[in-house]
C-alpha cells in the first residue's frame, strides 16, 4: 500500500504542482526579477540593478502607508480577536438556544466579497456622516480609518469565531470538571484552563488577522480608495497606485520593488508573531 502510494505520488501531485508553478512560483520569480528593471510591459524589461530599491525608501507615500497600515493592523487584530473569542465563548455555552443560527449569522459576512462590502459600507457610512453633519468619507481620513476597521471587524469576526469555537470545544471536559472540583470559579477556569488550551487557535487567528490586515486591498480600494489625498492608502493599494496610476517606465519597477519589500515585511512580521504565540501553546 505504502509502496504504491510512494510510486504514484508524483502523478497525483502533478496537477496541483503545475497550477502552483504557473500561478505562483513563476510569476513570483518573474516579479522578483522585474523589481530590478525598468519596463513598460513585462516582456521589454531593462535591467537597472538596485535603483528601484533605493527609491522605495525615499518614497514618503510608502512610509505613510506603512504607518497607516500598522495603526490599522494593531487595532483591528485586537478588536477582531477579542470580540470573536467572546462570541465563541458565548456560543459554546450549553444552555443557550439557537447557537447554530447565531453561528451561521455571524459567519455570513465572510461570504461576501471585499469590493461589494466596501461599496455597501461606503453608502452606509456616508449616510451616517451626512446625518450627523460630518465631512463624507472622501474628505475624512478619521472616518476612513474607523470605517475600514468596522468593515474588517464585521467581515472577519465570524470566521475567527468559528476557529475559536472549534478550539473551545476541544478543551476536554475532564479538565474543566477537575478545575470545578478544585473550586475554580468561571473566570479562573477560563483564564487558567481554557485560554492555554485554545492557544493553538489563537496562534492561527492572530496570524490570519495579522496577514489579512497587512494585505488588505479590496476593501481599501472600494471604501476609501485612499482618499483624502492618499491619507487612507494602505500598503497594497499604494503599490497598486504606484504601478498603475503612474505613467512611465520608471514607476513600474518601483512598484515592483515595493511589492517585494512588502512581501518580505509580511513574512517577517508573521513569522515573529507565529514564534511568539506558538511558544505559549501547551501540550495536553
Amino acid at each position: 500500500m505504502e509502496k504504491a502510494l510512494k510510486k504514484y505520488a508524483p502523478i497525483f501531485v502533478l496537477p496541483t504542482f503545475a497550477a502552483f508553478s504557473i500561478g505562483f512560483i513563476v510569476p513570483f520569480f518573474q516579479g522578483l526579477y522585474l523589481s530590478f528593471c525598468q519596463f513598460t510591459t513585462t516582456k521589454n524589461a531593462k535591467f537597472i540593478g538596485l535603483g528601484n530599491y533605493a527609491r522605495v525608501f525615499q518614497d514618503e507615500s510608502f512610509l505613510d502607508s506603512f504607518w497607516f497600515t500598522v495603526a490599522f493592523a494593531i487595532v483591528s487584530i485586537i478588536l477582531i480577536n477579542v470580540i470573536a473569542f467572546v462570541l465563541a465563548l458565548v456560543l459554546t455555552r450549553n444552555n443557550l438556544k439557537g447557537t447554530n443560527v447565531f453561528r451561521t449569522v455571524f459567519f455570513m459576512p465572510n461570504l461576501i466579497g471585499g469590493i461589494v462590502l466596501g461599496y455597501i459600507w461606503q453608502i452606509l457610512i456616508n449616510c451616517i456622516l451626512s446625518i450627523v453633519g460630518e465631512p463624507l468619507l472622501a474628505l475624512n481620513s478619521t472616518a476612513g480609518y474607523w470605517g475600514l476597521i468596522i468593515l474588517m471587524c464585521w467581515q472577519q469576526i465570524g470566521y475567527m469565531m468559528i476557529i475559536y469555537i472549534a478550539g473551545i470545544q476541544n478543551v476536554p471536559d475532564t479538565l474543566t470538571e477537575a478545575a470545578a472540583i478544585d473550586g475554580a470559579n468561571a473566570w479562573q477556569t477560563m483564564l487558567k484552563v481554557k485560554l492555554p488550551m485554545v492557544m493553538p487557535s489563537i496562534t492561527i487567528c492572530v496570524f490570519l488577522t495579522l496577514t489579512n490586515s497587512f494585505k488588505l486591498f479590496d476593501q481599501n480600494l472600494a471604501l476609501t480608495a485612499g482618499e483624502p489625498a492618499h491619507a487612507t492608502e494602505m500598503l497594497a493599494l499604494n503599490i497598486y497606485q504606484t504601478f498603475y496610476a503612474r505613467a512611465g517606465a520608471a514607476w513600474k519597477g518601483l512598484g515592483q520593488a515595493k511589492a517585494v519589500v512588502f512581501c518580505l515585511l509580511v513574512i517577517v512580521i508573521s513569522l515573529i508573531q507565529f514564534k511568539a504565540t506558538h511558544s505559549k501553546e501547551v501540550q495536553q
Partner: protein, 458 residues
C-alpha cells in the same frame, strides 16, 4: 490520538494556504491585478476574448482595444461588418471606464497584444512611443484633413486623432424658458451668474436648480479636475503664447474659483455631499428636469436622446469663465483619442490593422457608422455629417466666427496631478474657505511643477 492528528492536519493545511496567499501578495503587481483588469475588459466585451483571434486568409487580424465604453456596441457591429465584407478577423475589446491604461498595460504584455490602441495625447504618447508604428506612409494618414490632428515628431507620425469632440454647458432650453430666459440671454460669465443665481433664488417655486450636481466621485470628477480646469490653462497659454509648460502660473485660477463656486452653490445638492455624487447621478438629475445646466460633452448626446429629450430641448453653450474675449468664445473642441498601431505586432497584423483603419474612415459603411451610430465628427476627408446636435452646434459657432477653446488638458503632467486638484476641489466644496482654496491653488500650481519633474524624470 486520531482526533489530534486530524486537527493537526487541518491546521497545517490552513497555514499552508495562508503562506501561499501571503507570498502571493509579493507578486500582486504582476499577476493577480493584471488578471483582474483583463477580466474586467473581457467582461465588457463578453465573449470577444483576445485569445480567439483566428488567422484569416490574408494571414493578418486586428485586435482593437477601444477606449470609449459608450461606443462599444457600435464598434462590435462595425467590426462584424468588416469581417463579413473582407473575411479579416476584427476583435474589439473595450476597457472599463477609467481603466484604459491599466488594461492596455496588461494587454500589451501578452503574446496576442492589441494591434490598434489609443493614447490620450502627447503626455499619454510619451509612455507608449516605443510601441507606436510610424504611420507616415499609411493610407489612413493620407486621409487626415489636417496635420494638427496627428502626433508627430519630425517626419515620424506616431498617432492620429480619429474623433473630434466638443464640450460645454448642456442647456435644457425648455426649463430655461420656464425660468423666463432665452439662450441669447447668456453670452458671458456675468450673464450666466445672473441667470443661475436667479434660478437658485426661485428654485422652490420653479422646482428645479440651475446646475446638476458637480459630482466628485471618480465617475464624474474628470468633468471638473480635467475639463473645467482646461479653461484657466487655455487662457494662460493664450496669454503667454505657448502650447505647453513645465510650470503653470495659475493666472486665471480666480476665474476657475468663481465658476466652481457658481456650480456648487447653485446646484441640486448640498456642496458637502458632492464627494459621493456620481456621473450617473448628475445625468439622471438633468434627465429628470431637476437642473437647467449640465457640464458635459458631445459624447453625451445619445444618452440624452435615449433619456427622452429631443433636439428642440437641448443646446450646448460655451463655458464662460469671465476670461478672454467672451463674445467670440466657442465650445471646447479637440480630441484626446489618438489611434496608435502596435509596432511590435506581426507585420501581417499591422497591415490588416492599417487596412481596417482606412476602411473605417473611407468606406461608406465605416464613415456612416462613425457619424451616426457613434455620433463622431472624424477628421478625415470622407467624413459623413453626424446627426449629433452638439457637434453641429460646434460647426455653427465656428462658422459664426467664434474661436473654439482648444483641449489643453492633454498637456497636464500626470493623472496624479488631476487627482490632487480633484481632492482639493472636493475639500473646498465642503468648506468654502480661502485656506481651502489656497490648497487648490497649491495642488494646481506647485503640483504641476512637481508632477512635471517626476513625469519627465528630472
Amino acid at each position: 490520538m486520531k482526533k489530534k492528528l486530524l486537527s493537526a492536519i487541518l491546521s497545517l493545511s490552513l497555514v499552508a494556504t495562508l503562506l501561499a496567499g501571503c507570498g502571493g501578495s509579493g507578486s500582486t503587481a504582476t499577476t493577480s491585478t493584471s488578471e483582474a483588469s483583463t477580466s474586467e475588459a473581457g467582461s465588457t466585451a463578453e465573449s470577444e476574448a483576445p485569445a480567439d483571434t483566428a488567422v484569416s486568409a490574408e494571414g493578418g487580424s486586428v485586435y482593437y482595444l477601444n477606449f470609449k465604453p459608450e461606443q462599444d456596441e457600435a464598434w462590435q457591429t462595425l467590426a462584424k461588418a468588416y469581417t463579413e465584407e473582407t473575411g479579416v478577423e476584427v476583435t474589439v475589446v473595450t476597457a472599463a471606464s477609467g481603466q484604459y491604461e491599466t488594461t492596455l498595460m496588461s494587454e500589451m504584455g501578452k503574446s496576442s497584444a492589441p494591434t490598434l490602441f489609443q493614447v490620450n495625447g502627447p503626455v499619454g504618447l510619451a509612455n507608449w512611443k516605443d510601441y507606436c508604428y510610424d504611420l507616415s506612409g499609411s493610407d489612413v494618414y493620407g486621409q487626415l484633413t489636417s496635420d494638427a490632428y496627428a502626433l508627430k515628431e519630425g517626419d515620424t507620425v506616431y498617432s492620429i486623432a480619429y474623433v473630434i469632440e466638443s464640450y460645454g454647458l448642456i442647456v435644457n432650453k425648455t426649463l430655461l424658458k420656464e425660468a423666463g430666459y432665452e439662450l441669447t440671454d447668456i453670452a458671458s460669465f456675468e450673464d450666466l451668474k445672473k441667470v443661475a443665481e436667479d434660478i437658485t433664488a426661485r428654485s422652490a417655486e420653479l422646482g428645479f436648480a440651475a446646475f446638476s450636481s458637480a459630482g466628485m466621485d471618480g465617475s464624474s470628477d474628470w468633468r471638473f479636475k480635467t475639463h473645467l480646469a482646461n479653461l484657466p490653462i487655455y487662457f494662460e497659454y493664450q496669454e503667454d503664447g505657448i502650447s505647453s509648460t513645465e510650470a503653470i502660473k495659475g493666472s486665471y485660477l480666480d476665474n476657475y474659483r468663481a465658476m466652481w463656486d457658481l456650480y456648487i452653490n447653485n446646484s441640486t445638492c448640498d456642496p458637502a455631499d458632492l464627494s459621493a455624487k456620481t456621473g450617473d447621478d448628475s445625468r439622471a438629475e438633468f434627465l429628470n428636469g431637476d437642473a437647467v445646466f449640465y457640464q458635459n460633452g458631445s459624447w453625451e448626446y445619445n444618452s440624452l436622446i435615449e433619456g427622452g429629450y429631443t433636439d428642440d430641448d437641448l443646446a450646448m453653450i460655451p463655458i464662460y469663465v469671465g476670461a478672454g474675449d467672451e463674445a467670440n468664445q466657442g465650445l471646447c473642441t479637440g480630441t484626446e483619442n489618438y489611434w496608435c498601431v502596435n509596432a511590435e505586432a506581426d507585420p501581417a497584423d499591422i497591415q490588416a490593422t492599417l487596412d481596417f483603419m482606412n476602411w473605417c474612415v473611407t468606406s461608406e459603411a465605416g464613415t456612416t457608422a462613425m457619424a451616426s451610430d457613434m455620433g463622431f465628427v472624424i477628421p478625415f476627408a470622407a467624413a459623413v455629417e453626424s446627426p449629433n446636435l452638439f457637434v453641429k452646434q460646434d460647426v455653427e459657432y465656428t462658422a459664426a466666427g467664434k474661436t473654439p477653446v482648444s483641449w489643453n488638458f492633454t498637456t497636464m503632467p500626470s493623472e496624479e496631478w488631476k487627482n490632487g486638484v480633484g481632492s482639493a476641489l472636493t475639500a473646498y466644496a465642503a468648506d468654502q474657505s480661502d485656506a481651502n482654496w489656497d490648497a487648490v491653488v497649491a495642488a494646481f500650481v506647485d503640483g504641476w511643477a512637481t508632477e512635471y519633474a517626476l513625469a519627465n524624470g528630472n
